[in-house]
């Protein structure tokens, strides 16, 4: 993966969000420049929806402002720990961005310190495996048999994230389930030929 296609860091994305307080042309150009690389990554998969939604919403003028604010009304908020939460105004679904950020911020080093620069934006489970499987399988097999399994797991993963439940087991199960679903395809084919 080239530098341009590398996912932006959590810290970098949050800084970019913090700069946007309206739609002056300079900011818009900066935003466009910032998102150019990211959008190329995002265009390859729907799994990076929140970032894409924010970028596309802003570009289309449907999001008036995207900023980083603090959730003072949330007693258990990250603000209480000296961290920040994103505030997205207008059409980008709050829940989507909150889920995405919840996952990103949950790490101790995600938002502060020099380590934050190295912290990539967290991807859903099987993000890379998905691309490999798409390359291996026929479109029909992928969209009918593997894609839905992955989509269910992503749904469960983000539901768990939303409710602040542990996601590690879901991520492991997702990988196991997807790998088994791929492996069983040729096995079933061989068994059918055998019979």
């Amino acid at each position: 993966m080239s530098d341009k296609l590398r996912p932006p860091t959590a810290e970098g994305f949050m800084q970019a969000l913090a700069q946007i307080k309206g739609r002056p042309p300079a900011v818009e150009r900066a935003l466009q420049h910032y998102f150019d690389g990211a959008l190329q990554v995002l265009a390859q998969s729907d799994t990076r929806l929140p970032l894409r939604a924010a970028a596309a919403g802003f570009a289309a003028g449907r999001v008036d402002a995207v900023g980083v604010g603090s959730a003072t009304d949330a007693p258990d908020s990250l603000h209480a720990q000296g961290q920040v939460e994103p505030v997205v105004i207008h059409t980008v679904p709050d829940i989507v961005v909150q889920q995405w950020f919840a996952h990103t911020i949950s790490s101790d080093t995600a938002t502060t310190g020099p380590e934050a620069e190295q912290q990539p934006i967290a991807l859903p489970p099987t993000f890379h495996l998905n691309r490999a499987i798409q390359f291996i399988l026929t479109p029909k097999a992928y969209y009918r048999l593997i894609g839905p399994v992955m989509a269910d797991c992503h749904y469960e993963y983000y539901e768990a994230l939303k409710h602040h439940k542990p996601t590690r087991w879901i991520a492991i199960r997702t990988h196991l389930l997807v790998v088994w679903s791929v492996v069983r395809l040729p096995l079933e084919w061989i068994i059918r030929l055998w019979r």
Binding site: D46, T47, R48, R144, P148, D152, H154, Y158, E159
Partner: protein
Amino acid sequence: MSRGLPSGKEIVVLRLLSDAPSSGKYGLELVAEYQKALGRGSVYVILSRMQDKGLVESRTPKRADHPGLPRPRYRITALGQKTLQAVEAAQSVLPRLAFRQAVQGIIADWVQVAR
């Protein structure tokens, strides 16, 4: 489109899908309603086979309402509904036929013994 009689699991899936003919159901819902007798991986194999037979159809939204891949929703087709009706009609008739044949067999045996 290949044709063929639906298997036992396919009939159960058709029954579950016929509960929500217009909105359809997610694969996970089917697994939950089938009380875990249907695996999470195998449900999509069955649904794919049923799609080949034209019994169900799937709709996948372009965007998911959560981050990640969008989940397809499965709906029963008109052919699926007709197939389900035919299967249910056959299932209601067959036990009676089987009983009648069994009774006729016993009577025939008695007749042979009597002779």
